[in-house]
Symmetry: C2
Subunit: 410 residues, 2 copies
């Protein structure tokens, strides 16, 4: 079953704005075994919205709109639906009374413009809004279900979940099963080479995505029923797991930090960090995991070189002999963090994140990462180019992966 998602609002076309409503709807549709074939963000122009609604009815059995249902002049979705469906807008007296009562319950009088929200194209049904004054509109015609929801995220979500989803569940055909497999420490091309022949598996679509320092394999299996979809997914997933081995660190909602946290927690071990070029980003990634206090103690940000000595006890001679960006200093940072924080493991990161500070010897992108475990520990050097943000995020992923591999070994 196919869907189109139409997000209405001129603000969605402004640079830097992410269409998070459509993100959410696309994912919820997949949960219902419905695939989105296109998603569009359109400005507040009724004829253009109407044109896209017509196009959507050509391409999909489910058409979801979000936005443009409020009471202001910018809210043009009602008018667009009327145009697209060639059905006049009609004002519903019962909905007018409902809107008036919402305002009077708060001791206010609804302004006249509020009552445009009581208009719907002839033949449409209401989707009730438990959180606000703008109702949604549901139209079923010619085998296409069209649902128009407000753009306020909380209202859209509850109205989709309470009214639209049950409707779609009843009319659903086929089944989908999904899994995201997450890989660390290997470039996308290496992961791709390892599993590419499995992309042709019947009924399973695989998408490979490079994230910073990790690679994701998104598996989407189709079947006539849930058992077939799950069976197809399982066949591909287990083969991929076997091939990827320890490079595969988790699935679905796992992150490198959450997996490291789980491993530390299972072994009743604790971690400390000493960061230079990442400036706190490693600590931030670790403490992004709820409950991190059970296994992360803390650490230091030694951005200035003298703080590497005063906070993390890196010997001045080491800094002088090897420079701040070196394996010995990364190891000393890791050791210093472990000791100062009384942890079982210490991670140290030092590098050149750029854009300045590179030298022929140590160009921008040179990062040394070390793990101290009270024994021989381990270290890794990164020397990929990239911008400042990318270099820092890769360093964090590599540090987490260094510890993860150490923790799964035994």
């Amino acid at each position: 079953m196919n869907a189109v998602v139409i997000a209405v609002g001129s603000e969605l076309l402004t640079p830097g704005r992410r269409d998070t409503n459509a993100d959410w709807l696309v994912e919820r549709l997949l949960d219902l075994a419905i695939e989105t074939v296109w998603r569009v963000a359109v400005d507040d122009d009724a004829p253009r919205i109407a044109g896209l609604v017509r196009d959507a009815r050509r391409d999909a059995e489910v058409v979801l709109l979000t936005g443009g249902l409020g009471p202001t002049d910018d809210d043009r979705t009602r008018e667009a639906l009327a145009l697209a469906l060639d059905a006049p807008l009609e004002r519903d007296a019962a909905m007018e009374r409902h809107i008036a009562s919402l305002f009077s319950a708060r001791g206010r009088t609804a302004a006249p413009r509020q009552f445009v929200q009581a208009e719907r194209p002839r033949g449409g049904a209401w989707i009730s809004n438990p959180l606000g004054s703008a109702p949604g509109i549901l139209v079923e015609r010619d085998g296409v279900l069209l649902a128009s929801l407000p753009g306020v995220p909380a209202e859209m979500k509850v109205m989709f979940s309470e009214t639209v989803a049950p409707h779609l569940r009843r009319s659903g055909r086929g089944a989908l099963a999904r899994r995201t497999l997450r890989v660390a420490g290997r470039p996308e091309s290496v992961v791709d080479d390892a599993v590419r022949d499995l992309y042709a598996a019947e009924g399973v679509t695989t998408t490979i995505l490079a994230s910073t320092g990790t690679v994701e394999l998104l598996l989407l299996a189709r079947g006539d029923g849930p058992a077939q979809a799950r069976g197809r997914l399982h066949a591909v997933e287990s083969e991929m797991r076997a091939r990827l081995g320890e490079d595969l660190f988790g699935s679905d909602g796992d992150t490198l930090a959450s997996v490291v946290g789980q491993l530390l927690s299972n072994g009743h071990r604790t971690l400390a960090t000493a960061e230079s070029c990442t400036g706190g980003l490693l600590g931030a990634a670790l403490t992004d995991v709820p409950g991190a206090s059970a296994w992360y103690r803390g650490g230091m940000v030694c951005y200035a070189n003298d703080l590497k000595t005063s906070l993390a006890a890196v010997p001045g001679e080491l800094l002088a002999a090897h420079g701040a960006v070196s394996e010995p200093v990364a190891r000393a940072l890791a050791r210093g963090a472990r000791h100062a924080c009384g942890a079982d493991f210490g991670l140290g990161v030092t590098g050149v994140a750029g854009p300045d500070g590179g030298t022929p010897d140590k160009p921008v992108g040179t990062v040394h990462i070390a793990l101290d475990d009270g024994a021989e520990g381990r270290a890794r050097k990164l020397d990929w180019p990239g911008d400042r943000d990318l270099i820092r995020r890769r360093a964090v992923a590599s540090a987490l992966d260094l510890l993860r591999r150490r923790l799964v070994e035994r």
Copy 2:
């Protein structure tokens, strides 16, 4: 002048995937005074792509496609263009030779499937690709310019900049001028109330966006020529600046951290941090600014309570008397960071980020922030609800804003 941007690729419909190619194109079009009226991500299906191209030609004078031009079976944009334009695909012998030469230059032989890249709809022109084998296709018909570019970001960008943009510049009408104003420390509704009447200014569209802990006002001014557009922008911008006063912290590419860094740098002052609930996120935000080493020294992440004492010299009695999440402890963290790092200013953050750890007294979302400046300093309490990520990011923004207001005062 209006544009539609069509991004082709089934992977763009997978959850979590952001369509960054279209983000980039929409912003570059604005630089050329061209507004995007809709942007769509569509799967690899030729009839659906063709339908959207037809719809786009109805709504805009500029239609940009990205993706689907490579040599694989999934690459269906050429076929879609032929369908939409009702023009047969023709293979260009000169382009075939060019593709063959690209491969032979690397000592390889082009596989037969590579030569589908030499096909274009009758009447189309090539857009040369200096970085890869897939050329772009340019079609001008009925007053609509249609440009189809590869989906590889680097190739798309250079081909747009070198070929498509000069073309659009020649055919451009009207002018645009833009500005983003950035506000901190005030909720969106307060900013909205302060400037809302200016939204009606002639020829200037204002969009208000709440970012985490900050609010953005995006101004887009139109004019018959650049002088009129700039004049209209200036009138609205200067009135907004006057009304927002110190709440306005910057414009365009400024961030709170970059503004704080500039202020510190101008005054030859330095900063240190001691973080609990933010776990390094404040240090990470500061060191995201290139050249931060000139004014940021470093700090400590005191996630475990005993580290607040051992690393940041927070007296144990203070912790016992007030609890870790309290103004006195935030002040002691700020002081400890300033002393341990030898900085002019210290920032301390301690709070309950959740989802667990809240109490009736100190619910999730309670965060204390303090600034130590060697004199009376200052402190602020946050008590907004939200999820873990939001609470932590707001705490970082509030800490930076606390220091910023202190720095602009004198």
